[in-house]
């Protein structure tokens, strides 16, 4: 029984759970959006009814009661935005559309990239964090969970999964103005939404491998695959006589080594930023993403490289090339790629436009947030212990837990002796 590298990839969770066709992806996003909208509307309506009932009781009571309404007591600006708007009572909530959500998620991805850069994380950890965020917002809406909170926690999770292992206190110190609870509270929720699939297969290492093999070809040390009739010397002369690339990484000199290094650097930059901001990870395999970025960087080189891997006569060759081109189109049409090729003035204007767009969206988002999921820290505490007052647990259940815990503590004391005195 033999496994090819394709079979190995087919066994990964990325292929099984996080790969889609474009239509599936769109359907999924629409479904998530509809569900989230329904929920937001229902929760807002419930909250308004509650508030109306309180308002009937009298203005003096409403101030004290408001503190107990779930979702309203996190105190970081939400009370002021939600509290003083009696006019909105009968207005229908204006929810985000799928396109708007996608735009926001992309913005959050950019923010996460900047955050990771600020903390000084390596590029693969950053990419994992961004992909986690994208996966998270595939099944959840930004209206439900606040992206800022989620991205901070997700970056922390990505560090842990990719062996960067930061100390939580150090991590918090770098971020500033965050508490431990704010990082840890949504952790379980996020991990659950990621379905405990912690592995993200990235194209970075593959790009290094391709670069290495191209170097082997240049040195004439490459062993051609069985189907290839060319010898390593043929390949060596062929790669040296390739036409220069007309787009992407344009090299002035004829030196093939410089050309390879330039192509590598160019492709690597695409992978680090543009690939993270698009849906490429959902629609293509890491190998295709890697080769597509190489295709953008140096087309003649990549086409030649592909010809050493697949016989040009086979249908697979043209199909792969088409897929690579499709993936490359996804990258080249993205803002972050085109931004590098436009003039500074135009770029500034574009940035201005994007900023305005985002701030409008954020304003809209503020009005359609799910009131129940505002404060993840409280929600998390509610799930834990003694949460009777939150309505998260029934009274008797909380009591039972408390009694059980006290008993457990007492027993522990009996066995190990009394607790040590505090210093």
């Amino acid at each position: 029984m033999k496994l090819t590298e394709d079979d190995i990839y087919r066994n990964s969770s990325q292929y099984k759970h996080w790969s889609f066709t474009p239509t599936q992806l769109a359907e999924l996003r629409l479904k998530t959006n509809i569900q989230a909208c329904e929920r937001v509307k229902a929760n807002v309506a419930r909250q308004r009814a509650q508030r109306a009932a309180i308002a009937l009781d009298g203005a003096s009571a409403s101030d004290s009661e408001r503190g107990n309404t779930p979702g309203l007591e996190n105190g970081n600006g939400n009370v002021s935005s939600n509290g003083g708007t009696p006019l909105r009572l009968d207005k229908e909530v204006d929810c985000l559309t799928v396109a708007e959500e996608m735009r926001l998620v992309e913005k959050f991805c950019e923010t996460t990239l900047d955050l990771a850069k600020f903390i000084g994380l390596p590029s693969d950890v950053t990419a994992t964090a961004v992909q986690f965020l994208r996966r998270f917002y595939l099944y959840n809406s930004p209206m439900t969970y606040d992206a800022l909170i989620v991205s901070r926690t997700i970056t922390f999770i990505a560090c842990k999964t990719d062996n960067a292992n930061p100390n939580l206190d150090d991590y918090i110190a770098k971020l500033g103005k965050v508490t431990r609870d704010q990082i840890l509270a949504p952790e379980y929720l996020i991990v659950q939404a990621l379905r405990f699939n912690f592995e993200v297969k990235h194209p970075f290492r593959g790009l290094k491998g391709a670069h290495l093999e191209l170097g082997e070809i240049v040195r004439g040390a490459y062993t051609p695959l069985p189907f290839d009739t060319r010898t390593s010397n043929d390949l060596e002369t062929e790669i040296a006589s390739l036409p220069p690339s007309t787009s992407g990484a344009i090299t002035g000199t004829k030196d093939i080594h410089v050309r390879l290094d330039n192509a590598y650097g160019f492709a690597s930059n695409i992978l680090k930023r543009t690939a993270q901001l698009t849906d490429a990870y959902f629609l293509f395999t890491p190998s295709q993403i890697m080769l597509a970025s190489l295709l953008i960087a140096d087309e003649p080189l990549t086409v030649f490289y592909l010809s050493t891997k697949l016989p040009a006569s086979s249908p697979l060759h043209s199909k792969t090339l088409n897929t690579l081109r499709a993936c490359a189109t996804v990258f080249t049409t993205h803002r972050s790629y085109t931004a590098s090729s436009v003039s500074p003035d135009e770029k500034a204007a574009r940035d201005q436009l994007a900023k305005a767009e985002i701030s409008a969206l954020m304003k809209k988002l503020k009005k359609c947030r799910d009131p129940d999921k505002m404060d993840l820290v409280k929600l998390n505490q509610a799930q834990k212990r003694d949460a009777a007052d939150q309505g998260g647990l029934e009274e008797n259940k909380a009591k039972r837990r408390k009694v059980a815990r006290e008993n457990a503590e007492k027993e522990a004391d009996d066995f190990w002796g009394p607790e040590l005195g505090k210093k």
């Binding site: 090819t4 590298e5 066709t21 599936q24 290492r205 290495l212 890491p286």
Partner: protein, 324 residues
């Protein structure tokens, strides 16, 4: 007074219970030595006290001190008797030995009648040994059978030919024991020399003489030889888009090969290279457009998706297990 009385022939019968209390070798009695223990040897089942055994047999095998018994005894085989009646003791020993040698079951035979015939022969052999009928021949057959069984169980064990050693019954197998006293070398030379002439263990039509031949006995099937352990259960990774090269002369890779921090733990640049190449081409020819056509929500993969989505977005978060 009791000594005098015991010499009286008529009194011996009356004092029969006292026989248990008196050592047949040294004549000391339990009356004088309450801690005395009596031992028997399954060679001849003559009873003697522990101190006699120590005295006579400590320095090696010696003949039984009782008059008329010419068995050679070893100290290690002395034991306290289990049954009061020594005949029963002997029978149990014989039966135990036979049961060990002839341990076929009904499933080993083709028909029930064959099994019954086998049991009949086993019982016959047992009673032959118990009643001392035709002991020589029975012993010879039994030993051949035992060795044949052993050879069948373990074909690799070197098989000692029965004809190489002189024939003697196992119960009196003393032919090559060097006795410590020259005067006690009373060997049954006549029996041993008489039996060497019998053509035992001869090969009849290429088959070894197994002592007994049972009708309908199934041939023992050898278990199939164990296969070499394969941690991947027959699976192997065979890349189709690249061939792994032995080494690459790249500075940034080869420095790790000479860095003890890496090679001490078993890290090899080759592994890293293999991983790089696997990731470079893993999924190159997987076209998600074609392979992922199944609609969402079908297959059990997507049940998990749905649950996770519902849990995260839906009415309730998945509640963690109640710890208390």
């Amino acid at each position: 007074m009791s000594r005098l009385a015991s010499r009286v022939p008529g009194a011996s019968k009356r004092l029969a219970p006292d026989e248990d209390e008196l050592c047949n070798v040294c004549k000391s009695s339990r009356y004088l030595n309450p801690d005395m223990r009596f031992l028997v040897n399954p060679e001849c089942y003559h009873k003697m006290c522990e101190s006699c055994v120590d005295r006579i047999f400590t320095h090696g095998p010696a003949p039984c001190p009782l008059a008329g018994c010419n068995k050679t005894l070893r100290k290690a085989r002395f034991r306290t008797q289990t049954f009061e009646d020594l005949k029963v003791e002997r029978e149990v020993d014989i039966r135990r030995r036979i049961a060990k040698a002839m341990n076929k079951q009904e499933s080993d035979f083709e028909r029930l009648i064959d099994y019954n015939n086998y049991l009949e022969i086993v019982e016959e052999v047992t009673w032959n040994l118990i009643l001392n009928i035709d002991v020589e021949e029975t012993e010879r057959k039994l030993r051949l059978w035992e060795e044949a069984q052993k050879a069948e169980l373990n074909p690799n064990a070197t098989f000692r030919r029965v004809t190489d050693q002189p024939e003697a019954s196992q119960l009196s197998d003393s032919s090559h024991v060097v006795l410590k006293k020259g005067g006690t070398q009373r060997r049954a030379l006549a029996t041993s020399s008489g039996n060497t002439s019998t053509p035992s263990g001869t090969e009849e039509s290429g088959k070894r003489d197994t002592g007994f031949v049972f009708q309908g006995l199934k041939k023992r099937k050898l278990p199939p030889p164990e296969k070499a352990f394969d941690p991947f259960d027959g699976w192997s990774i065979e890349p189709q888009y690249y061939a792994l090269q032995e080494n690459h002369n790249y500075q940034w890779l080869t420095t790790y090969d000479s860095d003890p921090a890496y090679f001490a733990g078993g890290w090899q640049t080759r592994d890293y290279y293999s991983r790089m190449m696997e990731e470079a081409f893993g999924g190159m020819c997987i076209f998600l457009e074609d392979e992922k056509v199944a609609p969402l929500g079908s297959g059990d993969d997507d049940v998990g998706t749905q649950n996770a989505a519902n849990a995260a977005i839906g009415m309730k978060d998945v509640v963690m297990d109640d710890v208390f």
